[in-house]
Each structure stands twice: as structure tokens, then as C-alpha cells.
Point group: C2
Chain length 255, copies 2
């Protein structure tokens, strides 16, 4: 059984167990070396990249399916995951036409001009170092890409990432961010770098410090030095109760 047949068989079986028409796409954000990263998959045998995604089992909540897919790719539990947009255009191809895409994927025989998927976009924030990227059945490789060095992705996935980033930026203005993107212990500078990277602009160090302090989401880690200096800055952790209180004030998690 060659690759095409194998994929075809898998797809057919998978489609029988999952909801038709609905697909999920996940924009999984990580943060490393002052860069915002996104987890991408490389399709088997080619050099074409796409977002991790999947389908919803017939007896599964849509949000649960997104959680499952995120867990499969990252091997992580308990993450920040939020649906942000539905991508439902008839033509969801940016750089390659639909037919071209099937050809690139080596499954040209599966192409049908009538087929379409409506995709529910989710974005997740995960801790870069804790992630062990795992490819799925259709992929050879799963790895991080820097958000400003993305290749041309399949389907409309560049658009999806753009909207996800916009949503994340907006989230930053009314909710704290960082709990799932940073290690448990971090310095104020680490947190500020994260914010600067997401927002794409510089922030004043001293004002940032003050703002975080008034939010009350940080507490000194016990490993902090008594006297802070260049080599040994204070280390913080998030006060989870307060952090999640600020999250809950605005979250929409019904459905």
C-alpha cells in the first residue's frame, strides 16, 4: 500500500468517526529567545507546512476535541485554549488553489471541487520548553516556527495565524498573559519580553514593573536573592488565584 492509499484509507476511516464539514485548526503559541513561536506540521513527504488540526468525534464536545488535539501535539495538560474565530469561506486557499493543494499533498485523487470544511480556530498558549512536539499521522515533522519567519502555509492558515495573533494582542489588554507561556519561575524582564513580543513594541521597564505589581498577580519566588542585581534579579511566580480571577472576569466559556 503506497502513501496515497494509506492516507486515503486513514482519512476515510477518520471521516467516518467524526463530524462532517467541521474541522479544527489550532494556533499553538510558544515563547522562546524573545520570539513568539507557532507550532506547525510538515506534510508527509513534502516541504509544505500547516497548522495542527483535526476533527470532532461524533460524540465529543467541540471544545473537548480541541483540547484533545492540543494534547496530542504537545503532550501537555491543563493549558490555556480558546476558540477565537470560525473560518467559513468557500475558498479557503491563500497561496495554493484547492486542487493545487491536494496535488502538493500527494492526494490528488481525493480532490473534489464540492468538498469544503468550515474550520473553528483555537489558539493556545503553552510553555515552549515543556512541549515535546509530536507529528500526527499525516505529518513527518512537528516543530516551532518563529511568528515573523513563517513560510507560505497551506489553505488559509497564514490568515488564521494573523487573526489569532490579533486576538491574543487584544486579550493582553484586558487579561493577564504569561501563565502558560513562561516557566514557573521567571524574572520581571522575562515577563516584559513576552509582552513586548506579543504586542510587537517596546515597553518602559519601570512602568511595566509598576503595572504588574498593581495587578497583584505576582509573588516573589523563594529562590529569589535577598538583594537583586544584574546577575541575580528577583524571581517571581504567578499568584494563581489572583491571575485566574482576572481571567474569569472576562472569559466567555459557554458552548
Amino acid at each position: 500500500m503506497n502513501f496515497q492509499e494509506e492516507v486515503q484509507k486513514f482519512i476515510q476511516e477518520h471521516f467516518q468517526n467524526t463530524l462532517p464539514t467541521i474541522a479544527l485548526d489550532l494556533v499553538i503559541f510558544g515563547f522562546h529567545e524573545n520570539q513568539l513561536k507557532v507550532l506547525l506540521l510538515r506534510w508527509k513527504g513534502g516541504d509544505y507546512w500547516m497548522l495542527p488540526g483535526g476533527r470532532v468525534y461524533k460524540k465529543e464536545d467541540v471544545d473537548d476535541a480541541a483540547t484533545r488535539i492540543l494534547r496530542e501535539r504537545t503532550k501537555l495538560e491543563m493549558l490555556f485554549l480558546q476558540q477565537f474565530h470560525v473560518f467559513g469561506k468557500l475558498n479557503r486557499s491563500s497561496y495554493f488553489s484547492a486542487q493545487e493543494t491536494y496535488k502538493l499533498l500527494g492526494i490528488e485523487n481525493l480532490y473534489s471541487p464540492d468538498f469544503r470544511d468550515v474550520s473553528v480556530g483555537y489558539y493556545a498558549l503553552v510553555e515552549y520548553t515543556k512541549v515535546n512536539p509530536v507529528a500526527d499521522n499525516f505529518s513527518d515533522e512537528c516543530r516551532w516556527w518563529s511568528i515573523d519567519e513563517l513560510p507560505c502555509l497551506l489553505f488559509d492558515h497564514n490568515d488564521i495565524i494573523r487573526v489569532a495573533l490579533k486576538t491574543l494582542r487584544r486579550q493582553l489588554s484586558y487579561q493577564p498573559v504569561g501563565y502558560n507561556l513562561l516557566p514557573e519561575i521567571f524574572s520581571m524582564t522575562d515577563l516584559q519580553s513576552l509582552y513586548e513580543t506579543i504586542l510587537g513594541r517596546q515597553l518602559d521597564r519601570r512602568n511595566f514593573y509598576k503595572q504588574m505589581m498593581t495587578y497583584g498577580i505576582l509573588e516573589l519566588s523563594e529562590s529569589s536573592p535577598k538583594i537583586a542585581s544584574r546577575k541575580t534579579p528577583y524571581l517571581y511566580r504567578f499568584k494563581k488565584e489572583r491571575y485566574e480571577q482576572l481571567l474569569d472576569d472576562e472569559e466567555l466559556t459557554i458552548g
Copy 2:
């Protein structure tokens, strides 16, 4: 052909032309007599109410389908319409079980425990007086309901309205609202009443006035009196360019 058979025939035909699994639900907001209203449909022959909704034709953008449904119910064009959440739980019934719901609707024979829909929620802002509510094929009646006097709706539609309202309230904090909810010419008090109703709290008249002026979205109508007073307050209209500029800054309309 009795009602059940008629409905069944219509549903089957409709389902053949539309995408499976995906439904749309519309929360259409209007404003009248200092109350926020929502457009609801009464199912044929019963006293059970639900949100207007519909399905997506196989060759139709999802957003276009929402626009079409909104137009069908209101006979209006060019409205503010925005998708806000996907409702994808396995069990989307709040007050009546799925089977019970089918019974209430008089289509018990169509019930299947395996059937499920994932619903994309849209909310719209329309001008109350301009709307001519039109029932659909399954409904006897389409009319406005005050947002705080809603009955127990079918499915999870009370939840959907709650999330829509929350989204609308948030929108108010970073975007102007009113263009599609008020008549072309209105007084400052009218606009303030709208804001107070949406936010569910009182605002200071004088501060509200100042804030709207700094936004720069209002201009005096030519029908305004030279000297304002109780009986004859100044009348305003929206400066559309400035208004839409503020909208565009934050809108997410890809997909």
C-alpha cells in the same frame, strides 16, 4: 399532508442543500423604549420560542449565510453582524431535553439520539423601528422580546443570548455602538439610554456627553434647534467616516 409531514419534507429538502452539522443562530438586538430587545421566533402551533437561525448552503460562505438569514427575518440590508462564538457541546439543551424538544416541536418522529448540530452564533444590531419581523417556514410568529423578560427558550438559546450580550458589552468598551440601533437623528439622551441599557448600569449624563464628543463620532443635525432645552434638545447624527474608522481599528473580519 399534516404539519409533521410538511415540516419533515421541508427539513429533508433543506438539509440536502445545506452543510451538515453546522447551524447558525442569530441574536438580533434592537432598542426600544429604553429596553434592549431580541428577535425571537415562535415554533408553529406551539408556545415555544427560539432564536432565528438557519443553515449554510453548500456553495455559500458562512458569513454570507448569516447575512442572508438576517435579511430574511428583518428585511434590512447593510447591518452590523458579527460572529461571536461556536456552541459545540454534545448536549445543547438547557430547559428541555433533546427528545423532549422534538416532542414539543411536534416532530418527535424526526428525533435521533445521534443527531447533533454545532452552532455558530452571530449577533446583529438593528434599528428597532425599521425592522419588519418575518417568520420563517417553521414559525408562526416573529417578534421582539425584552432581554430581561425572556421565556425559557428551546435548545441552549438562553445561553447563546447571554454570551452575545456579554460580547456586546465588551464591544462597547473599545468600539462605538449605536449606528445600527438608533434612528438616523437622535438626541444625546437617546444615545446615553442605549449605552445604559446595554451596560445595565447608569452613566453620568455630563461625562457621557464629554466622552462622546472626544470620540468625535457625532455631528449636529441640521434639524437641531439653535438653543437647546428640555423639549428641544440638540439632535445629532453619526459621522460615518469617523465611526467606521473606530470600528475598523479593532475588527476581525477575515474568514
